[in-house]
């Protein structure tokens, strides 16, 4: 008998169908990867097993977890099963822990609510669970608070909570999506080890095919609340039939058609840039302490090329971006765009500022929801001395929208009427409207589903060729950088540790850190044998 058997599960929330006849099963000791893009119903499938569905949900069908019919059990029985028979790990480690309780107490709670043991005994076992999750006592005492830990460490605490009672099934919903690539590799290895050691079943939910390709025994591909295709891994990668599965596979390693650029004239020149941040004063009269976020960085971006900047969180890439945009003054060094400094006197240089624009990661958070698209897209006009008005302004907005594949009629809508991918197109239109030379893409495709990401990457490549744009492509996602840039820089601890032609850097990395980063990137089985 399977550990988990889901049969013909359908779910609707306030009448809107979310899941349609989902069936899958997980055996003890088996890792099943559930893959799908946003809205595919993969998280709702997991929450149906936990019976932690949002209000207004009605589920039909069968969810049987080691003999328990989860859809029929009363709430009190379900509370007894959650945490004991089935544990769950979530996507966002930064918010998954109670910020005002020490980690030890939070792990011990799982034990205390299910077993009649003393507090001391529960704490002892919580310590063992944390040790198993590679949080040793000397560095991570039980009295630590979540805010004292990094994202990866917090995710280990969440995992410790979920496995403290050695449940039969562990559900991990995008457990590594919010983490850096090296941390992701470590956390995935940890999950795999725990599964093997305890003979647990693992339901690993992700949008990233490559993540599951390495470790899953079975793969289930979902779209629009339905299972599209499923089968054993890695064989499924060769036998995939369904057009959606194939499209997903193709999109996850999408290479746009683009011309290689190797111009010589530098457009942006960054020389020995140093950026310090003042730290909070420890004592009232102590001297001011500084944190050096960028330590003497130098590089050029040549006109027409696409330069990648990769590095993990905290490496200083965002600080460097703000300095390039002239949003903050640097402590020493110079940043010149087209021969002119980006920061003149005490304020950003407007003449230079209008030659560059930026597109940010979050297509939801970077727009004012109360503004119409026309006003959002026309915002950069404040950088121009003679901004077009009336008809000319409307024509410019229409041109910008059409250049990114939207229509002129979209100008009168509000952003909530658009999907994530369309919003990112609006962001690109906003960047293009004043015809800049340099576009800084700050994690611009990181939050998008793979198929949407492939479209945006194509769009950027087309625009680059048509308009002769220069790109600075900042990302933690190495596979994307590999596919869309001519040259790339690798940044660590505020320094550039490696620089070179992208293909060289990826195929023959020199610096130990670059090697480590590249080794940590999960790969698809088909990537190893080029067609």
């Amino acid at each position: 008998m399977s550990l988990l058997k889901i049969e013909n599960l359908s779910l609707s929330i306030y009448g809107t169908p979310i899941l349609k006849g989902v069936s899958l099963s997980i055996e003890a000791g088996q890792i099943v990867g559930i893959i799908g893009e946003s809205g595919s119903g993969k998280s709702m499938t997991a929450l149906s097993v936990m019976q932690l569905l949002p209000e207004g949900s009605t589920a039909t069908g069968r969810v049987c977890l080691s003999g328990n019919e989860m859809l029929e059990l009363p709430e009190a029985r379900l509370c007894g099963l959650r945490g004991d028979e089935v544990g769950m790990v979530f996507q966002e480690p930064m918010t998954a822990l109670n910020p005002i309780q020490p980690i030890g107490a939070q792990v011990a709670e799982t034990i205390l609510i299910h077993q009649n043991v003393s507090r001391a005994e529960a704490m002892k076992r919580a310590r063992e669970a944390l040790n198993r999750c590679e949080l040793p006592e000397d560095k991570f005492p039980m009295s630590r608070y979540p805010h004292e830990l990094s994202g990866g460490q917090r995710q280990r605490v969440v995992i410790a909570m979920a496995i403290a009672l050695q449940p039969k099934l562990l559900i991990a919903d995008e457990p590594t999506t919010a983490l850096d690539v090296t941390t992701q590799a470590e956390v995935l290895a940890l999950l795999k080890r725990l599964t093997r050691e305890d003979g647990m079943g693992l339901m690993l939910i992700t949008h990233d095919l490559a993540v599951v390709a390495d470790m899953a025994d079975e793969i289930v591909i979902m779209r629009h609340g339905e299972v599209v295709e499923s089968g054993p891994c890695p064989e499924l990668f060769d036998t995939m039939q369904h057009p959606y599965s194939l499209a997903l596979l193709k999109a996850s390693d999408h290479q746009p058609e683009r011309e290689e650029h190797s111009g010589t004239a530098p457009l942006l020149s960054v020389q020995n840039v140093v950026r310090d941040y003042a730290l909070p004063r420890e004592k009232l009269f102590a001297g001011q302490q500084y944190f050096r976020a960028v330590k003497g960085v130098s590089f050029d971006i040549r006109r027409g090329e696409s330069l990648g900047l990769v590095g993990e969180s905290g490496c200083g890439k965002s600080t460097l971006t703000r300095a390039i945009l002239g949003l903050e003054q640097v402590q020493s060094g110079s940043i010149m765009l087209d021969g002119e400094p980006v920061f003149a006197g005490k304020k950003p240089n407007r003449d230079v500022r209008r030659k560059m624009q930026v597109v940010f990661q979050d297509p939801y958070g970077s727009f004012n929801p109360r503004w119409k698209v026309s006003r959002l897209v026309a915002e950069p006009f404040h950088l121009l001395d003679d901004a077009p008005v009336g008809r000319a302004r409307e024509a410019a907005i229409a041109e910008a929208l059409e250049s990114v594949g939207l229509s002129a009629g979209d100008a009168d809508k509000y952003v909530h009427e658009f999907s994530g991918g369309q919003r990112q197109r609006i962001a690109i239109a906003r960047a293009l409207i004043i015809k800049p030379e340099l576009i800084i893409l700050d994690e611009a495709v990181s939050a998008l589903d793979v198929s949407i990401r492939a479209q945006i990457i194509d769009l950027l490549a087309d625009l680059g060729t048509q308009l002769g744009l220069t790109y600075l492509f900042i990302s933690h996602d190495l596979s994307v950088v590999r596919n869309v840039t001519d040259r790339c820089l690798v940044m660590q601890h505020g320094e550039i540790v490696e620089e070179g032609v992208t293909a060289d850097v990826f195929e023959r990395p020199q610096h130990a850190y670059t090697k480590q980063l590249i080794a940590a990137v999960p790969t698809l089985p088909t990537q190893e044998e080029p067609a």
Binding site: C79, R82, I100, H147
Partner: protein, 315 residues
């Protein structure tokens, strides 16, 4: 934690110094000659001189400020010009009405607001929630002096359970004294409790939507356990802010209610001494109220740090 408290104490003293300078300048310098202000337009020159002498207005500004502050530190607030009694005595007497009244009202308001807010949040959208929300809406909307008069009509005039006003004094015993503060405290607590209950409810609802509540539920906690063990303490920060503001308001802002119930409290004292142009009393009472507000803010800061470890200084 100790360092956090010490740092807060330093800023408490700095705030007090700044506040005392501002009050001193506004009362003694901005209106021009305080003696002339107190005596009115038709005062004789020799009376003015005598008053200046009595108030110590002949020294330099710095001397006057230092002697005022020095006096307060020794507990000497000067002598009231209108009543001819030491201000410290007057404040002392009235403080023993205003302070218990404020504490009483705050306790009542918290005792009503916490259960109401928690109940409404835990049963969101139910009849319980809707009734709590409607009642608190009413509580915020009704002016407290009008509510006070209604209570006097019902409980004092018709039912004769309480006296209509005045203060029995602490000499007659604790219970009779508290009894004469009950109606005023209820009148003060009603709008405060309504605001506090609404803040409690919305803060708790926000917290209940957090990811760590879902984590707690995935561990096997019931909805109720997750609320009490994880949501409540996290929801307290905005509630503490409001409690701090309300206490300051209750100390200083009870003027109208004190008037309705003929309670000789601090609020009435400020009111009377402003009408009588008794600057010495005004200056001291205002300083005292400012001190109370700053002290309460300090206590709220410490309470924040007790609730939330992220606010403590890293040691």
């Amino acid at each position: 934690m100790l360092r956090f408290v010490l740092k807060r104490l330093v800023s408490l003293w700095l705030s007090l110094v700044v506040a005392s300078v501002v009050i001193f300048l506004f009362v003694e310098v901005v209106p021009g000659d305080p003696a002339a202000y107190m005596l009115g337009m038709n005062a004789q020159e020799d009376t003015l001189n005598a008053l200046r002498e009595q108030l110590g207005l002949n020294g330099s500004l710095l001397e006057r400020y230092l002697s005022w502050v020095g006096g307060m530190l020794r507990g000497d607030f000067g002598t009231s010009y209108t009543y001819r009694t030491p201000v410290s005595e007057m404040i002392g007497e009235r403080m023993w009405i205003s302070l218990p009244l404020a504490v009483f009202a705050l306790a009542l308001s918290t005792l009503i607001a916490f259960p109401a807010g928690i109940w409404a949040a835990s049963k969101r959208g139910s009849i319980a929630d809707v009734s709590v929300m409607s009642l608190t809406q009413l509580g915020v909307a009704i002016p407290n002096f009008w509510f006070a008069m209604l209570m006097v009509l019902l409980f004092a005039v018709n039912l004769r359970w309480f006296s209509a006003g005045g203060f029995a004094g602490w000499d007659v015993g604790f219970l009779p004294a508290m009894k004469s503060l009950t109606l005023p405290a209820v009148a003060l607590a009603l709008p405060q409790a309504s605001i506090l209950a609404r803040v409690m409810r919305s803060s708790l609802l926000d917290t209940l939507g957090e990811d760590y509540i879902r984590t707690a539920r995935a561990k096997g906690l019931s909805r109720r356990q997750a609320l009490w063990k994880h949501a409540l303490r996290n929801a307290l920060i905005p509630v503490l802010t409001i409690i701090g503001l309300q206490f300051s308001f209750l100390m200083a802002g009870a003027i109208i209610i004190e008037n309705v119930f003929f309670l000789p409290g601090l609020g009435r004292l400020v009111f009377q001494s402003i009408s009588a142009r008794d600057l010495i009393v005004v200056e001291s009472v205002v300083m005292l109220l400012v001190f109370a507000v700053i002290l309460v803010n300090f206590l709220v800061d410490v309470a924040y740090a007790l609730v939330d470890p992220r606010l403590r200084v890293r040691s």
